[in-house]
Symmetry: C2
Subunit: 324 residues, 2 copies
């Protein structure tokens, strides 16, 4: 942001979530006023405990899927909105596609319309590598197409990208779209690390792994992810700016399972259910080209394996090590 | 379709529209049972007059944006759905984005869910070249990315592509997505030819053209478009099959304006409003790579200029020549 650009409040949807809370803290550290909208379904109030009560912070508990939610006062005077709120459970969306349609597409439409009516000039959107479907090019560049998402989570992310693009081109807004690899860190309520810890807690003798364990993806620490988004907001100036965010390396599900079991004392047997995919809609291979965001001067502080090891240590401290 | 594949009824949404009606006639000629769903907002009952009353044809007047519309009986036993219903006025969607969100994204979600619940195995979707936004590659291939639509019409088409893809990958359906160039033919209620005829009807002395007239796009006859879709449904067998549909050539808006004025007697003055784009969200240059659909054995019978000349003659017969 240049010195003469007015810096108004930032609205953060999903700000009580695992990524949103780290973003809120980063924005608050910069002296920004932060207004969080979260329905606290996956987000936790405790993530924001040290911000609540501050004059320049406010948590609004509201449901973005509700067309009648009173968003206007929250968006009034804001200089940007960070739209991170979404269903976080990809698998749930396969059983009931209305979850992602409502919590993804419909909620995003409401957020963008609120931003438009309040003349908010910048919108940041947390998209996902799953918009690529199962790509044939690795590392996958932002230019890859056609985009054939395999899950309704992915369909909702793609729909939201299109809405951001149309709003920005139609209404004098700038858009920042980030296609996330697997973002990991403390406070997560989903994902492979969370699942493994939960399974070991229920049965410390055995860890069931969905698929053959050869699924291999990029894991990015949440702090690296937030740094990249803030940097992109300062340096990228197109009408719509789109960036993959990931690490240059990846880790297999087998590696992760073994690391979790080792951290828990090494007593659990690992059972693979077999098959290339963990579940319907799982994308077994994922590696994003990060040349675009790197060209802005960003590099992740942790590669995939370091990110995983650190997150395992945090989970163990946060929740106790299962099986020990 | 192979000889032993059971051929059940075809559901056609937007079947009373200019493209839908030609499709319905083609399917009926093949002996197919056709069930049309249309709210008759842009579609016209008269397009289907010679099919109505037949035993194997039924027009259901229903609104696909209504979550409570009784779609189940219409989809029961169908072997495919052709989803063509949509808002047809791209410009209207810039003034009010909820039009395309509701008539595009929401309606498509309802159609796909009805198809899923009825176990309809094939879904055909009429997408558009506008999903490409303003591409940097011409002719634009299906692999082009990132997809940054500039209008809410385009955002809704992109969202619908993602929904088709997610449904097909999740629920054992096959998907056929067609990205249309400008499809022209009789019975249209929008588009550049329609607009020029309407303007000359109001004032036969003067034709106002939005933009500098150098916008240059591909124009495909509706019969060629329908032939391509039916062929793709027979020959393409991936989970999701995506095809550009257009001509290998294009025509400028200036050429079209001059052809319309010449057909009307050549008395009108042509005034250009200037600027590269006709309106906010207009994509001034459009030419689609059609290698994929051509590889299946399809070629358009008319190029852009022949398609335009034929459509002008039909308009003149259908509606009378303005200014004569």
């Amino acid at each position: 942001m240049t010195a003469d650009e007015p810096i108004g409040p930032a609205v953060v949807t999903g700000g009580a979530g695992a990524i949103g809370a780290v973003l809120c803290h980063a924005l608050a550290r910069q002296g920004r006023e932060v207004r969080v909208i979260d329905n606290l379904s996956a987000g936790r109030r405790s993530h924001l405990a040290d911000l609540e009560g501050r004059a320049r912070f406010r948590l609004h508990v509201a449901d973005l899927t509700d067309a009648n939610a009173e968003l206007a006062p929250i968006f009034a005077g804001a200089s940007e909105v960070w739209h991170l709120a979404a269903n976080t459970d990809i698998r749930k969306g396969t059983a009931d596609p209305s979850i992602d349609f409502t919590q993804g597409s419909v909620a995003t439409f409401h957020v963008l319309e609120a931003a438009r009516h309040a003349h908010v000039p910048k919108v940041f959107f947390a998209s996902s590598s799953v918009v690529y479907g199962y790509p044939t090019v690795f590392p996958t560049p932002e230019e890859y197409g056609p985009l054939m998402p395999q899950s309704h989570y992915g369909a909702a992310k793609l729909a939201a990208e299109g809405l951001v693009s149309a709003h920005c081109h139609s209404f004098d807004m700038k858009g920042y779209i980030f296609r996330f690899a697997n973002i990991i860190g403390p406070g997560m309520t989903h994902g492979v690390l969370y699942d493994f810890f939960e399974k070991l807690r229920r049965d410390p003798t055995r860890l069931e792994v969905l698929g053959d364990g050869r699924q291999s993806k990029s894991y990015l620490r949440v702090e690296d992810c937030v740094d990249a988004m803030i940097l992109a907001g300062r340096r990228a100036q197109k009408t719509v700016n789109i960036f993959n965010l990931g690490t240059p390396d990846r880790a297999s599900v087998k590696e992760i399972a073994e690391a979790v079991v080792a951290a828990a004392g090494g007593h659990a047997r690992i059972d693979y259910t077999g098959g290339e995919r963990g579940w319907t809609g799982d994308i077994p291979q994922q590696l994003l080209a990060i040349d675009r965001i790197s060209a802005l001067g960003w590099a992740p502080k942790s590669g995939s394996r370091a990110a995983i090891d650190r997150t395992i240590r945090e989970f163990a401290e946060e929740r106790g090590l299962p099986g020990r």
